[in-house]
């Protein structure tokens, strides 16, 4: 396969960026999207040029590092798929592919396609944890948890914090991310203790980072590689309201 890539290139956070066109020839359909970029980069390095900077780590859809907007859709638009799991067989020979970084005020560009997602870390630091004394590991069944709660909590905990929800949302809102973290902890007995303080502090941190609000368009759940759905945002809205009524 021969492809034309239109890639966003930006030297540094404050430098002006622009699209540069590259030719990706001899792409094998079984390659992942990131492997295809690796091949392009090897060509650039051989020519003595600066390779395209992009994030990746596990390359098996569990770490949340990869972060490309491909043809206007974060992670390329295949259900439950992160960029690293997207294969070149979904494209046709001769296609032109536009590759951009996540776009949000809270995610400033570091270089080319790499964005700074510390905003998410700061939201987690504001309350995305449970405060317990460390010690010997407790017995696995010491606290009984209903299966349904456990399942739902796990659905939320599947969030890998990649930020595709922010990238897809027309308001660059981080509600789905925060909702997933709030829900995953508040559904479990260990997390219930701090639920009110947690949701209040995490929402405050989210607003302070400059993310937008939710218009319930559903773009976030459509692109989420972990298929986290909008009902978690309703759950967060409920938790926040409850915290407000309790004065916490």
């Amino acid at each position: 396969m021969n492809l034309t890539l239109k890639v966003w290139r930006q030297k540094s956070p404050n430098a002006p960026g622009r699209f540069i066109t590259f030719q990706a020839d001899g792409v094998i359909p079984d390659m992942s999207f990131l492997e295809m970029l690796d091949v392009v980069n090897e060509g650039l390095i051989e020519k003595g040029e600066d390779p395209i900077a992009f994030d990746s780590d596990c390359r098996e859809g569990i770490c949340g590092m990869c972060s490309l907007v491909i043809n206007g859709v974060p992670h390329g638009g295949h259900k439950g798929t992160a960029t690293c799991q997207l294969h070149m067989r979904h494209f046709k020979d001769g296609d032109t592919i536009t590759i951009e970084p996540w776009r949000a005020r809270a995610f400033p560009i570091i270089k080319d396609l790499v964005v700074n997602r510390w905003a998410f870390d700061r939201i987690i630091q504001a309350g995305g944890f449970i405060s317990v004394s460390t010690g010997g590991a407790p017995d696995a069944n010491a606290i009984p948890i209903p299966k349904a709660d456990q399942d739902q909590s796990m659905d939320a905990a599947a969030c890998i914090g990649c930020g595709a929800c922010v990238a897809a949302c027309k308001n660059a809102s981080a509600m789905l991310f925060v909702a997933a973290k709030v829900s995953h902890l508040s559904l479990l007995p260990q997390g219930k203790v701090e639920r009110h303080r947690r949701v209040t502090n995490m929402v405050k941190a989210m607003d302070a980072e400059g993310f937008g609000a939710c218009t319930v368009t559903g773009s976030c759940e459509a692109v989420c590689p972990k298929e986290i759905n909008l009902t978690f945002i309703a759950r967060m809205n409920r938790e926040y309201l409850a915290a407000w009524f309790k004065g916490k």
Binding site: V203, A222, A234
Partner: protein, 229 residues
């Protein structure tokens, strides 16, 4: 309390609660006005009943105006924050994935509905002769028997103008587009949606928007087609 006005979630609650009150008003307003199909006497009696309690009427008006103010304030505030959250867009401005037309155009449909409401108030509440395009003063329409305001005749004369009725139908189309998304968003923002209720709330929003559109548009249509005269 301050948190409610400052946080993004708080502003969504304000948007949802004010929207809920206004939505309730739209339903009651429609049911009241559908009495036009019962003839002049019941409609004029209903109108006089409302006008006969000025204190209560003004209380209702003040509550509604406050709700409109809160709804508009939260909409402007949230829209500005949302715009600021993405300073640079994507190449070729792609349509956001999976976002319905109604959900993407809430601000636009809302603004046009606001203009429509101002016209509607001037037309039938303030009864400014300049905006009704008939050359008649609605204030002079009196019921021959009771000497109360003849609302039935006002509506028939008012809707007999094609362009006026056309604007009403356009206003209703946009209001119902707004409600088809707004009603589900209202439940979502207040945290009343979950895995079980979610799809029913979505269906309810579409159904109620369709009912409001048909119900309200039936009045100018009936006048234009000569069914009510």
């Amino acid at each position: 309390m301050l948190r409610l006005f400052q946080s993004s979630l708080g502003k969504k609650y304000i948007m949802a609660v004010s929207g809920f009150v206004l939505f309730g008003f739209v339903i009651v307003h429609m049911l009241g006005n559908l009495q036009i199909f019962l003839g002049p006497e019941p409609l004029n009696r209903y109108a006089h009943f409302l006008q006969s309690m000025p204190e209560l009427l003004w209380l209702a008006r003040i509550v509604l105006l406050t709700m409109v103010a809160l709804h508009v304030w939260s909409a402007i505030k949230l829209s500005l924050e949302n715009k600021a959250a993405r300073p640079a867009g994507y190449e070729g401005n792609p349509t956001p994935v999976a976002a319905s037309y109604a959900s993407r155009t809430m601000l636009m449909s809302g603004l046009i509905v606001a203009v429509f409401i101002i016209y509607h108030l001037l037309h039938f509440t303030v009864q400014t002769p300049a905006v009704n395009l008939t050359g008649q003063d609605f204030k002079t329409f009196l019921d021959p028997q009771t000497k109360h305001h003849d609302v039935f005749r006002m509506m028939v004369v008012g809707y007999s103008k094609f362009w006026v009725s056309g604007f009403y139908i356009l206003g209703m189309a946009l209001l119902c587009l707004h409600l088809s998304h707004g009603v589900t968003g209202m439940f979502q923002s207040l945290g009343l949606k979950n895995e079980h209720t979610g799809k029913w709330i979505d269906r309810f929003a579409l159904a109620v928007a369709a009912v409001i559109f048909l119900g309200n548009c039936s009045i100018p249509m009936a006048v234009l087609l000569g069914y009510v005269r």
